[in-house]
């Protein structure tokens, strides 16, 4: 059973690191928004895996908080951001 948790944790950490590359590189604001969304979802997966591993139920409230706050943040960015004209052409390539 320890191997399962180690493998799941390794895959989640690798997913977070790979997503951070797109968060740093990704040419337009929308790409960064998508990467941030993915990063929050990976974090939620990690917290859920931790709750399953340790049978600790105090972290389950942070799961709901993460789901709600990531939604509010993503919709706010999509609504109020300034369109970046230079990065838009790069995103098509």
């Amino acid at each position: 059973m320890t191997t399962v948790w180690l493998l799941a944790g390794t895959m989640l950490v690798a997913a977070a690191i790979v997503t951070m590359f797109r968060l740093l590189a990704g040419p337009s604001t929308l790409d960064r928004l998508v990467a941030t969304d993915t990063l929050v979802a990976v974090t939620t997966c990690g917290v859920g895996t931790w709750a399953a591993y340790s049978r600790d139920t105090t972290v389950t409230y942070s799961l709901a908080a993460l789901a709600l706050i990531s939604f509010v943040g993503s919709v706010s960015i999509a609504r109020f951001r300034v369109p970046d004209l230079d990065g838009a052409q790069d995103g098509a390539s």
Binding site: M11, A15, G48, A52
Partner: protein, 110 residues
């Protein structure tokens, strides 16, 4: 080993693998729409699988309701964010046209 623990292990491993594939898709895909696709669909399925594994493992506690609530929130809010991002990406022409086989927005608004 408890058979429910085996189910938990399978669910958590599959969910983590789907999260990893979604992250690779976000990095490797060419434009914003395909990245949004990778970040939305496998990611939500992986998250639901991990939450299901956690709910099976924590089955005796009262806080399983919070995990179910998290899954519901994710299922409700992920299409909204994906729709907003897709519409903005289309409107700013950061979509490469040769990847689209059908473009219904352009057909409807000449």
């Amino acid at each position: 080993m408890n058979p429910l623990d085996v189910v938990t292990a399978v669910l958590v491993l599959t969910g983590s693998f789907l999260a990893l594939t979604a992250a690779i898709g976000v990095v490797r895909f060419p434009d914003t729409l395909t990245r949004m696709h990778a970040a939305t669909k496998p990611q939500v399925l992986g998250l639901l699988l991990v939450l299901g594994g956690a709910a099976i493992r924590l089955r005796d506690h009262v806080d399983v309701g919070m995990i179910i609530l998290t899954g519901l929130f994710t299922l409700i809010t992920a299409p909204v964010v994906a729709h907003r991002v897709g519409q903005l990406a289309y409107r700013e022409q950061s979509v490469s046209d040769n990847l689209l086989s059908i473009d219904e927005i352009r057909d409807e608004t000449p």
